[in-house]
């Protein structure tokens, strides 16, 4: 976690220093390509994880039910918070 914060902070600083150049304007493409690479890398790490592959047929459904519940529960609760506390603020 600390490593991520340091990298993000260095990026922010670097971006600040480079803001007069044309580099930041072209970085969107690099972000997209890296994000695609990350998805591929995550696929490779899931596909090479024996623990996941071996257990998936047995407990995949339980995992799906629990993860969908967790996602729906949290976004429904988050929507309530957004409507009640954030909506008018972020529209300003």
């Amino acid at each position: 976690m600390l490593v991520i914060v340091i990298i993000l902070a260095s990026g922010l600083l670097l971006g600040r220093l480079l803001r007069k150049t044309s580099i930041p304007k072209n970085i969107g493409i690099a972000v997209n390509i890296t994000l695609m690479l990350l998805l591929f890398a995550l696929g490779v790490s899931v596909g090479s994880n024996d623990e996941v592959l071996r257990n998936f047929p047995l407990i995949g459904l339980d995992a799906l039910i629990l993860s969908l519940a967790a996602i729906l529960g949290s976004i429904i609760c988050g929507r309530f918070v957004y409507n009640k506390f954030f909506r008018h603020k972020s529209n300003k």
Binding site: I4, L14, G43, L72
Partner: protein, 200 residues
């Protein structure tokens, strides 16, 4: 949505290649995705740092940002408790400890494997990978139907790292500070709640 399909495709191709093809060692090593992630975070930082002042956006939200991780925690535990009724072979505390992984699959699966064995540990691993993956693929739909906080709540402990890029893309760059704060808060919650539910 087209972008999401490309992500999904790349993810599936990655899985299939890992299963059926012998990949070069550096791709399979777990540090590969970590370095890609670090590069991505650096690039995003540069992109954001060159733009408008981000802390101004955060200031407008003020102390209310603490409500976002609390909503994630309450919503997750409530929903997982409800569905545990439909999983009679799993106890409530087992389900809650899996839910308390908040998509932090590496840490939660290790903690759960040590306390309850490999089967529940593998469940935590797969369920929490699915949670992270859903955010990467369905973030645009979440924003559309549940508002801009939705991918942050769904992303759990990953909103500081893996899911940060898609959150900024679909919710907007104003959500950087909320997303980062949420990720740190949930990271610590995993370390608190997983052992707590395992001890009950």
């Amino acid at each position: 949505m087209k972008q999401s399909l490309i992500y999904l495709l790349l993810f599936v191709v990655g899985i299939l290649l890992a299963i059926f093809v012998v990949l070069p060692e550096f791709l399979v090593a777990s540090s590969f995705s970590k370095w890609v992630l670090y590069l991505l975070i650096l690039l995003i930082g540069i992109q954001l740092g060159s733009g408008k002042n981000l802390f101004k956006a955060a200031k407008a939200f003020g102390g209310k940002i603490v409500l976002v991780p609390i909503a994630t925690i309450i919503g997750t535990f409530a929903a997982v408790s409800i569905v545990s009724i439909f999983l009679p072979h799993r106890s409530l505390t087992d389900c809650l400890s899996v839910g308390a992984g908040f998509a932090y699959y590496s840490l939660s699966s290790v903690l759960i494997t040590e306390a309850r064995g490999a089967e529940l540990g593998a469940l935590a691993l797969i369920a929490n990978i699915m949670r992270e993956f859903c955010v990467l693929i369905f973030a645009p739909l979440m924003v559309k139907y549940f508002g801009k906080l939705a991918p942050i709540n769904a992303g759990g402990a990953t909103t500081l790292d893996v899911t940060l890029p898609v959150i900024l893309k679909y919710s907007g760059q104003d959500f950087l500070v909320i997303s980062a704060f949420h990720g740190m808060f949930l990271d610590m919650s995993v370390m608190l709640f997983v052992p707590l539910f395992l001890s009950l």
